[in-house]
Symmetry: C2
Subunit: 342 residues, 2 copies
């Protein structure tokens, strides 16, 4: 079926549901051979991979809660909507296989904005091997809502969960944190991006274009050197607390060890605040937190070294004594609970 | 972790995201053995069924587009949100295995309403073997949005698609149609349900509590007697047209044969209108439309007979000549395109 042409100034309501779906299908590209049926039937059909488990997760971004259409490029919204679900797959050690995109669209969204969102989604889908195979489009009388389901696979013995940690396990964190929270704070303070320096721009980039740690998750999963893993969607304090809770242990995070993004430090010093809360409670960094037993430490670091270009920092430890603590200058204080969505 | 107690008058915002998730987990019930990990990790993990394909679909219900919170019981909203996705699985001949629930909640939704929605969802999930294994909760600054992903499986040779129809295939429809559209029209005309007679009440029930034709889809798929199938989410005209388009055939629907729900006929005669448009263009009946070749007709009817209690009606035929037509009193007129979401 030929794709109807429309002016980019047209709204999604003028184009209509069927033509929007055709437009998505035309752009979805060549599907890998494990996709038996992609967009266009009642449901998508995937060939399972022999000897693996299916891993599935849903996440949504809501306008005025998770993004602002007047601040952010449509492509970044599409990218991030997929990235946050892929980050969940990364935390299980899974490899992506497919994605579903469910859109609730205000009728006045310009077609160009719809296309931009789709471009951002599809570019990340292509790069990560998560082809768009289905979904849904409906009207929204309120905000734009982007709901994404990501489907992946992992070999049973490689599966990483939150609940496998043991007392004595060391906590390792990928990358640097606080940057995304600083990026959001920067955008809230000024939308004139021309005034941002290189560090500011990097923070905003981390906030808008998160890079899910898929390869790192898979490499560590393959090494079987980590006992537990979770991603940092709601900040380090939340992730450390949840991992400890699922593992039925206590946890101590070492304040001095937390790898704070230099842009977060710069933002904090400019505003007379502290950078640590941005790193602990600021969400959306989408780094991975691993628990590693002392016996597996060497193997873990060797595996992680094979994945160049991503720092790993020891930030704390699980322990038998209950409670979630922050160790700062020799004192223990409550760790707090990170970003809460209500 | 103990489930915190809250007053049913509390709002979801007062309860908070983590407590809502715990509340869902506590109610999700015992998971079947193919669910390796349910609610509570970064993603859900399922054991694939040997020799089957994975079938996945997403659908969403948006407040003030698909339902009104002041008209409809929360349990019906939860039920229907899952039912529409399960109907897509039914149309592929698939058996459900799991479901994901993604909620965007206005902060002032009372906890009792949240619980009700969940009850409706979980009752259907339990009845159909689609246990809730994951999802997401976020705040909505606008309407309540319920997005559901359903996951099923089907043996490769049993998979039903829209695209397998051939010229000469007969079209068979389950059940009677137009009832859901009449139910919506009734609610729009009067919300005083005490004034509804038994037929009216049945129409409203069909609109609010659709029953996905899972068993029928699976029995027909097992018989391998149908060449194509699709569900009627957007009405018979839309389904017949889409099935013909995917099968690269034309189609003629026989107006006199369309099994119109008696409640739709009664509503039409009361309002001085015609019942046929309700049946053709009114969506949400969630019946199944099958294409069956003449050689398979007997086998199809024998398989369908094994599934008692659901009528099957021959409503038209695929044909080589292009176009989507309605045959009425010996004349062909354009079939039209059913319910459009914008």
């Amino acid at each position: 079926m030929p794709v109807p042409r429309h002016d980019a100034d047209a709204t999604v309501a003028a184009v209509g549901e069927h033509a929007l779906i055709e437009r998505i299908r035309a752009r979805a590209g060549v599907l890998p051979d494990w996709v038996t049926l992609g967009i266009g039937d009642d449901a998508a059909v995937l060939e399972p991979e022999r000897g693996t488990l299916d891993v599935v997760t849903s996440d949504s971004l809501v306008e005025r809660v998770h993004f602002r259409r007047d601040w952010t490029l449509p492509a970044a919204i599409g990218h991030k909507a997929l990235a946050v679900s892929l980050s969940d797959l990364a935390a299980m050690g899974a490899a992506p296989r497919a994605s579903l995109l469910s859109l609730a669209l205000p009728p006045d969204v310009p077609l160009a904005e719809f296309d931009g969102l789709l471009d951002g989604f599809l570019a990340l889908a292509a790069k990560t091997g998560a082809p768009l195979v289905g979904g849904n489009i409906t009207r929204s009388p309120g905000p734009l809502v982007v709901d994404v389901t990501a489907i992946g696979s992992v070999r049973r013995r490689r599966l990483l969960t939150r609940g496998g940690g043991r007392p004595g396990d060391e906590l390792f964190l990928t990358g640097q944190i606080g940057g995304a929270a600083a990026g959001l704070a920067l955008l809230e303070a000024s939308r004139d991006r021309a005034t941002f320096d290189a560090l500011d721009t990097d923070c905003v980039h981390r906030y808008e274009w998160p890079d899910p740690r898929l390869r790192c998750g898979q490499i560590v999963a393959r090494s079987r050197a980590a006992s537990a893993c979770m991603d940092l969607s709601d900040g380090l304090a939340d992730a450390a607390g949840q991992l400890a809770r699922a593992s039925q242990t206590g946890v101590v995070v070492d304040a001095a060890a937390v790898p704070i993004h230099p842009g977060a430090a710069a933002w904090a010093s400019r505003t007379g605040g502290e950078a640590l809360p941005l790193a602990l409670a600021g969400g959306e960094d989408y780094e991975l937190l691993f628990a590693v037993s002392p016996r597996q430490r060497r193997k873990f670091l060797a595996a992680a070294r094979a994945y160049r270009g991503l720092m790993l920092t020891s930030v704390g430890r699980l322990r038998r004594e209950p409670g979630h603590w922050l160790s700062r200058m020799g004192q223990l204080e409550p760790l707090g609970s990170g970003f809460v969505h209500f």
